[in-house]
Symmetry: D2
Subunit: 392 residues, 4 copies
C-alpha cells in the first residue's frame, strides 16, 4: 500500500461497485465512508438509498451523481433491484442510525451483497446473534467500521503484543473522552445529538454505544484478550437526557488481566480523546487517537521509545497500512480508508473465489456481537448496582 | 515567597528548631524532607532518632552534624529529652515506615512538640482516629506530607475550582502509574520495596497506601468533594507479593459527582505518572506531576489554555507558592518544600500565639484519617467482591 | 467543505478532467497528487504521460485504468492530442523532477490547459520569469503545490496575522529538518535521493530547493511579508554529494521584520519537521507540520492557547478547509487535497467565465518565481561568502 | 549525590563559609544563589556586601541573619576584613550587575578567596583577559554560574557526545526565546529590565549578553566544539531601547561543524525557552530547558528514545547530579545547585591540598572569557554588516 502505481491499489476496471444506505444531505458519517472508499480508488459509488425521506434520498443521489434510477427510496427496494442487475453493486455501506443496521444488513446479505456497516452493530444482542447466523449462512463479507483499528500504529501495537514484545498482558486501560454533549445539544437542534441520545434509534446505550464500544473494541483488538466479566456504572449527567453520557467499567479478562474503561461525552476540553494503554510483564504501549502517528513503547528497564507511523521499527502489519513516509501525518480519514482497503482486498479475492492475504484484518460481525454483549452487560451491571456481570 | 530577601523567608534567628525520626543512612524520604526544610532557610535540624538501629542512628547523626547528645537511639527518648531542653526542637519530622507513624507522633504531641509526618498516616483507621483525638487535645500543629498538594499549579487548580471556574464538578479522574514493582524487587534487595510490600510495616494496603492515597488526596484537595462510597478491586500481579500492586476504584462523591482512581506499580514505562483530571459543567482541568509546571484549563466552547507556574493568570494562592519566574521549572523538591514553608508559617504564628494567614494550607491529621478510611474501605470492598462501601 | 453531500464537493458530471505528467510506477509524489485529486471527488484522471520511459508510461497508464490511447509517451504529444479532443483534459498535474516543470507547463498552457505543478517551479529564475509571462498571456490557471499552505491551521495562522491579532510582525522563524539524506542514499539506489541531489535534474539547489523553498513559502504565506535581502550559508555535509544538504539563511523583510530559516536533510532523528514561529508586537504563533492539527497562539501577557483544527476559535478561512470534526486528525494528504480543492473552485468558476470565491487561495506561478529568486539569492550569497543579497 | 545521608553531602562542621556581593533586597538572582548554596547543605552564608547602597546592604544582611559586623558596605572592605579573620569566608558569590563582576572578583582573588561569579563574566574581552591572568596566578577556584550546564541531562548529553554516540558532530542549533522585554519594561519600573538594557551596567550586549551567552555556552559545553568564526545580526525591536533585544548568529566550528544561535527577548509566548539540538553522523539530541527532565536521543535509522533524568540509560556523569528518582521532576534550582555542589567538591579537595574527582565540572573563568569573545565578535560582526568574524 506504499504510494506506488502498479500494485492494483488504484483504479480502472478493477473498481468495486458500491452502494450506500443512509448518508444523505446533512449526514456526517456517510461522507466519511465515501471519502474512505474513494481514497485508494478501489470503489465506485453507483447506487444509494441515501435517506429514509424519499425526496431527500433523490436529491442526495443527484448531488452525488448517481443515475436517477439507482437512487432508491428504500434499502429493500435497492437490495432487490441491485441484485437483479448485471452491473449491480457488489457491496453496500450502511451508515444509518443504529436501529436500521440489522434490517438493512439482512436485506443485502440475503440478496447476496457484501456489507460494510457502521457501529454499533445493532440495538440488542439478540438482533446481533441473528445477524451472525445469517451472515455465516450467506457466506458474504461483513465488515464493521470500528475504524480506529485501521490506524497503522494500532496494527503495530497488535502485532507487537502478538509477537510477545510486552510479555504476558496484565493491564488494559481504555479512555475515550469528548465534551460535545456537555450541554443538552439534542434539545437545541443538533441532529447528531438527537439520534445518539434517543433509545429508539440508538438502543439501550448512549455514550457506551457511541464511543464506549470503540474503546472496548480497540482494547480487545490490540490486547487479543477476551473479557470474562465486567462491572459498570453508567451515568447521565445532563438533565433531561434519556441515555448515559458517562461510563466507567471495570473488566476482568480471561487469564487474569484487568482493564478499566472510561468513556465520557461531558469531559470539557476533550475533543475526541481516545487513548489506549496496554501493559505486560515485559513492556508497555501508549497511544492516543488525536495524534495517531505516534506510539510509545517501553521495555522494562529501558528508555521509552517513540515509534512513528511508517518510521523505524515498523512491522509489516503496520507498514502495509500507510501511504506516505514518516513525518507526513496521516489521520482519521486514512485510518477509516484502511478498513475499506482491507474489505476491497477481501472482495477482490472473493471475486476469483479465493481468500485474501492472511494479513487482511477488518472488524467482523463477531466483533459487532462482542460489542453488543459489552453494551448489554454494562447496562445490566449498572442497573444492578454495579455488579460483576458475565460478558457473553 | 517570591525570591526576595527581607520577607522573613530566609534565615537567621527566626529558624525553627527541627528534629527527625527515621531518615538515617540508606533511607530515601528522610533526605527529601531535609532538603525541603532547608530550601527556604526556615528550619535548622538539631536533633534526631534517625534509625531504629542504634549504631546506624549514631553514625547518621554524625553525618548530618548533629551534636552527639542530640542523636538519640529512640524516638521516645528523644521526645522527652528535647521537651526538657530550653533549646529543644519545636517540630519533628517523622519519616519512618508506616507502622511507626502513630506511635512516634503520639510521643511528640504529648511532649508538646509539633509534628510533620509522612503518609499514609497510620496502619489502621482505629489508630488514625486515636491520633486525631490526641492531636485535637494537644493543640499542636500536625501536618501530613501529601507533598503533591504543595505544587503551585495544584494550588491554582484548587483555587479555580473554589472560584467556580469549572462550574459544578461532575468528574474526577485520578491516575498514578509507576513500574518499579513490575518484578519482585522486594526479593532482590530493594529496601524501599521490602517495607512497602510488607503488611507488618505498611498496613493492609500496598500500592493503595503507597501511591493510591496520594492520588485520592489530590483529587479531594483540588475538587473539594467528599467521598460517599467507593467500589474497588485490588490486584496482586507479581507472584509471591503479599500486598496489592494495582488498584482500581470507582468513587461516588456527595452531590453526585463520580470518580475513577487507578494506581499501579506494574505499568511498564511509567516512572511517577500521577495525573489528575477534573471536569465540571463549565470547564475542565488536566495536570500531570511529571511536568508540574503546566496546567491545562478548558472553558466549554473555548480554546484550551496552557497555564504555567507563576505565568499569566496565576492566582494568589498559586503565586505565593513559587520561587522563580515562569519558564524556570520547579519540581518535586520545591513542591515538598512548600509543605514545610506552610508549616513554618503556622509555627511562627503559633510562637506568638496567633494563627497563620488564612491562605496557609497543608494536609492535616484529618486528611490522614480520610486516607486511612479510603484504604480500609477499598480493601474491604475488594475483599467483598467489589461492592459499594461507605467511606467513613 | 464540511462533510455534507449537496455542496457540489462531490462528484458526478461536474468532475474535472485531469491529466498527469510524471508519476508513473515507482514514483512517490504522483500518487500523492492522485489521492489529493480524488479525495473530494472533483477530478477524474483520464490521461497521462506518466514516465519519460515509453514502456513504463504505458504500463503505468494501464495500472491506473487509463484508456490506452490516452496514455502518452511524451507530454508534448499529450498536450496537443488532448487539446484536440472534445473531452480533453481541463487541467494537468506536472509531477516530474524539477528540470521538466517549465517545459511541460509551457506545452500545456500554450494548448490552453490549466496547470497544477510541483515545486520548485523551475531550475532558474530566468526560466521562471519566462513562465510567468507566458502564464499571464495564456489566462490559464496555474497552481504550484506548496502543499503545506493547504493545512487548515496554516490558513488560520495567516488569517490571524491579516486580522492584526499579532500586531506588527517582528520575527519569522522557519525550520525544516529531515534526516533521510544523512548518509549517501543517492549512491545506494534511492531514486528519490538520486534526482534530488543531481544538479541536472534539480537545479542549483539541493536541500534549499527540495525543502528550503517549502519553509520559505510558508513563512511568506503566513506572515504576508516580502523579503528584501538575505544572507545564506549552504553546506554539503555528506562527502561526494553534488548539492547542499543543509541551509541556514538570515532574512530581512520589508518593514523591518527579521527571519531565520534553517533547513537540513542530515538532522538525525527528524522525519519531516517543518516548523514555523511568527512573533509580533502583540502575539505569537507556533506550528509544526508533524502534528498539523494544533496551533499555539499567545497574546502578550496572557496564557497560551492551543487552537485545534476545526475547534473553538476557528476562523472561516480555516473552517472551510476541513472535513471532519476537531479531534479527528487530518494529515498531509488532506492538506494536499486542499490545494486541489481550491484549484477546482477556480476551474469551476472559469468554466462559467467567472472568478472563484474571494477566499480561494492557492500558491501561484508568482509564488514559484519568488521561490526561485530565494534559491538563486541564497546560492549566490553562500558562494560569495555569506553576503547580504537582494531578493528579486 | 543520591539522596543518602552519610556521603558528606550534608552538613555539619564541613560546611563551607560563604560570602555574597550583591543580592540584597529586591534582587532576583541573589536569592537563587542562596537557595543553590543551601540545597545540599554544603555552605553557610556568613558575610555579605549585599548592596551598593549602604543602608540597603545593612538591612539586607539583617534579613538574612548575618552578624552585623560581617554585613559590609563595600566588596573591597569585605574582601580585606574577611581575609583577616580566622573564620573568614572561603568563597564569595558575586551576583551584581555585569560591570561589577571583574572588580569584585579581583578583590577576592587577590585576598585569597575562591569566587563564584554570575555571567557574563565582564563587560569586555580585555577585562576578562586580565581576570584570567589574575586567576591563574591566584590559584584560587573560579566558577561562573552558567547554571544550565548543571542540569543532569545536559551532563548526559555531553557525556554521550564525548562517548561518540552521535558520531562526528555536524550541527549545533541553539535557541533561547523569552518575551518579557516585548515592551519597554525598562521605562516602566522593572529593575531587572533597567540594568539589563543599560550599556553602562551590562556592557555592549543586551539580549546577547543576558541569554545569548547561556545558549552559546550550552552549545559548546555539550558539543565540545570550538568556534572558529561567526556572523551575527543584532536587532533592537523595541523603540528607545539602548541594547539589542534579538540576536541571530551563524557559527562555524573548528572541524567543519556549523551552528545557528537565535536568542530573543521579544518572542511573545516564550517564557524561558532555551533549546539545544546537536546532530552528528550517527545520532541526534534535543533538549528544552522548560522540561529539563527529558532528553530526546535518536540513533540514525532507529526509533527515537526519550531519556529521563535518573532514568534508564543514565550515564554516571548525569546520575551523580540528581537527587530524586526518575519521574520526580527536578528544576532550575536543582540545576543551579549542582554548580554549587561541584564547587564545594573542589573547595573541599583544595582544603586538603588536593584536586577534586575528575568528574567534577563547572564553568570556569576560561568559559567566561569565551563568552566575552562571543559577545564582542557578534557585536563587531553585526556592526560591520554581518560579516564573518573570528572568535578569539
Amino acid at each position: 500500500m506504499a504510494i506506488e502505481a502498479g500494485k492494483g491499489t488504484e483504479g480502472g476496471a478493477r473498481r468495486i461497485r458500491l452502494g450506500m444506505v443512509g448518508g444523505g444531505q446533512g449526514a456526517f458519517i456517510g461522507a466519511v465512508h465515501r471519502i474512505a472508499a474513494r481514497l485508494d480508488d478501489r470503489y465506485e459509488l453507483v447506487a444509494g438509498a441515501l435517506s429514509s425521506d424519499a425526496e431527500r434520498a433523490r436529491a442526495s443521489g443527484a448531488d452525488l451523481g448517481l443515475a436517477p434510477e439507482r437512487s432508491y427510496a428504500s434499502f429493500s427496494e435497492m437490495a432487490s433491484a441491485e441484485a437483479a442487475r448485471d452491473d449491480g453493486i457488489e457491496v453496500v455501506s450502511i451508515v444509518t442510525p443504529n436501529h436500521m443496521h440489522v434490517p438493512a444488513a439482512k436485506a443485502f446479505l440475503e440478496a447476496g451483497i457484501h456489507v460494510i456497516c457502521d457501529k454499533p452493530l445493532s440495538v440488542s444482542v439478540a438482533e446481533a446473534e441473528d445477524l451472525v447466523a445469517l451472515q455465516a449462512k450467506s457466506r458474504r463479507i461483513f465488515a464493521l467500521t470500528h475504524n480506529y483499528t485501521g490506524y497503522p500504529l494500532i496494527r503495530q501495537a497488535r502485532a507487537m503484543v502478538e509477537a510477545g514484545e510486552l510479555g504476558e498482558i496484565r493491564l488494559v486501560q481504555m479512555e475515550y473522552a469528548q465534551d460535545w454533549l456537555s450541554e443538552r445539544a439534542e434539545a437545541t437542534g443538533s441532529k447528531q445529538a438527537e439520534w445518539r441520545t434517543d433509545p429508539a434509534r440508538s438502543g439501550a446505550g448512549g455514550c457506551i454505544g457511541d464511543i464506549g464500544t470503540h474503546a472496548y473494541n480497540l482494547g480487545a483488538f490490540v490486547s487479543g484478550l477476551k473479557t470474562r466479566e465486567l462491572l459498570a456504572e453508567l451515568t447521565t449527567f445532563v438533565e433531561g437526557r434519556a441515555l448515559d453520557d458517562d461510563v466507567r467499567v471495570l473488566l476482568r479478562y480471561e487469564g487474569g488481566a484487568k482493564g478499566v474503561l472510561w468513556a465520557s461525552q461531558v469531559a470539557v476540553g476533550n475533543e475526541n480523546a481516545l487513548r489506549l494503554q496496554v501493559y505486560g510483564t515485559k513492556g508497555g504501549l501508549e497511544w492516543c487517537q488525536e495524534n495517531p502517528n505516534q506510539l510509545w513503547f517501553s521495555r522494562l528497564g529501558q528508555p521509552k521509545q517513540l515509534l512513528t507511523r511508517n518510521g523505524a521499527g515498523s512491522l509489516p502489519a503496520a507498514a502495509r497500512m500507510t501511504r506516505v513516509p514518516p513525518g507526513h501525518p496521516e489521520g482519521y480519514l486514512e485510518g477509516f480508508a484502511n478498513i475499506y482497503y482491507e474489505v476491497a482486498e477481501a472482495i477482490l479475492a472473493a471475486r476469483s473465489g479465493g481468500a485474501p492475504d492472511a494479513a487482511v484484518t477488518y472488524p467482523s460481525v463477531a466483533d459487532g456481537l462482542a460489542g453488543m454483549r459489552f453494551i448489554e452487560a454494562a447496562v445490566a451491571s449498572s442497573r444492578g448496582g454495579s455488579v460483576w456481570t458475565p460478558v457473553g
